[in-house]
Amino acid sequence: MTTFLLRRIGTLAIAVVVALAIWSLVLFAFDVNPLIARQPWQVADWLFTTDGAAENRALIAENLAVTVRDAGIGYLVGLAGAFVLAVLFCISPVAERIVMPTAMVLRSIPLVVMTPLITLIFGRDVTGVTVIVLIVVFLPALANILFGLRSVTGDHRDLVLAYGGSSWTVLRKVALPAAIPATLASARVSVPAAVTGAMIAEWLSTGEGLGGAISRAAGSFGYDQMWAAAITIAAVTMLAYAVVSVADTLVLDRMGQLS
């Protein structure tokens, strides 16, 4: 367990170094205008060592809190809703046949396009943002979890039925445990999706949070803040992803589903 955690952290650290190197090299290689471009150490300087670094950090942290709230609510509600609906569809396949193709069409409408429509309907506040994050998280998770619930083989079902279990017992004893890996995988990949959704919603509709701050900073040539905000949200997303991913592996390990 400790070696596993250490190995994960090690891999993550190497990957972060690689990403930082790519960032720095791209700026050098394309000889990007220094007025716009910021190297990793310049961002660190703005956040930690320069005069007024504390205010800079406070500014970023304040916006970050809003973005985390925006992404978090939609993420939790979206995953929970997807799980409930997937179980429902598992019981009633006809409902699935009606809803799923429609959901696929909705899913394929790009998010930027949908955001204005949702803003028109739900308004420019937390509700609108939550609905947007919900759509991003909900549909792929639903498809994924449903696939997991369906992965029950005929043999397992027959065994439960032969021992006098009902289809409810099949769901409880076989299908739900079988869906856990898919649910965890959805929880993992939904993290970046939820953040992207929240950032797009903030950019296009509420103007709050890091999403709003970045577009305002870009418009007013506040490139220091723009870079720092971008790096902060990327780092936080990555950390959240890593935490969910570790939890995912530990749970699967405990269930004995790791091959």
Partner: protein, 257 residues
């Protein structure tokens, strides 16, 4: 009743019913609104499509498709090169996957303005499309590489084949179905990236630009028409790549079920 039920179980019948229900709901919600500055009825949207005509749509769709296509190409190319690296040096897989995760954690709205300030609007639309495609294809390709069956690999080894023969004869073939699926799933991403890039500005035509303009001029009919059209294009691309993938990997049919 049971005939009705079994008909509904067929995907396209159920899907049609779902979409008809959705349109009916849309109509019911909007019919009562007298001044619909934000929420037009379906027929108002259709009429706006007729009014704007083919030239408006083709002038905006063509550039977006070209940008999305270029982003799709570059993103997939980059993902395949990186995946090939893992194929040759499997030890790299952990780090490569993590770098992929980092790339997917970069928020579009943060990277977009930075790329735009550095390279201009056109490049930013293509880059964002490529960024969204990269991780999906990378994960699909890596998944495919590990899906080669142990016994096939052992067979090659038993007949004296080396690692390179294993890669050529078994791993690549086994990787194609998962790769085909990933390429399909990546299609809407390329379109989304291109449109976000256009939305950021610095470009004179494209779906994102038209959408932005229609919103500022408060033309909800056009906003809705463009949105639905984009969804249809995205869906058509998804279907087309899926079809090509199935044609290219006929041996994967049993696995797909």
């Amino acid at each position: 009743m049971s005939a009705f039920r079994s008909a509904l179980a067929r995907p396209w019948v159920g899907g049609t019913v779902g979409i008809v229900l959705l349109i009916a709901l849309w109509w019911a919600m909007t019919a009562g609104l007298t001044d619909s500055t934000s929420f037009p009825t379906p027929d108002a949207v259709l009429r706006s499509v007729g009014r704007d005509g083919w030239s408006f749509y083709s002038a905006n769709i063509a550039p977006t498709l070209s940008r999305a296509g270029q982003g799709y190409l570059w993103g997939n190319l980059a993902a395949l090169v990186v995946a090939a690296l893992v194929l040759v040096a499997p030890k790299l897989e952990g780090v490569v996957t993590q770098v992929g995760v980092i790339s997917s954690c970069l928020p579009l709205t943060a990277i977009g303005p930075i790329i735009m300030a550095m390279f201009g609007g056109r490049a930013s639309a293509i880059f964002l499309g490529a960024l969204l495609v990269f991780f999906t294809t990378l994960v699909g390709a890596l998944l495919g590489m590990t899906s080669a069956s142990r016994s096939s690999l052992d067979l090659v080894a038993a007949y004296g084949g080396g690692r390179w023969t294993q890669i050529r004869k078994v791993r690549l073939i086994a990787a194609l179905p998962a790769l085909a699926t990933a390429l399909q799933v990546a299609v809407p991403g390329a379109l989304l990236g291109a449109i976000v890039g256009e939305y950021l500005g610095g470009i004179d035509s494209g779906i994102g630009v038209a959408l932005n303009a229609a919103q500022r001029q408060i033309m909800p009919d056009r906003v809705w028409a463009l949105s639905i059209l984009t969804g249809l294009i995205s869906l058509a691309g998804y279907g087309l790549v899926g079809l090509l993938g199935r044609l290219a990997t006929p041996w994967a049919k049993e696995q797909r079920g």
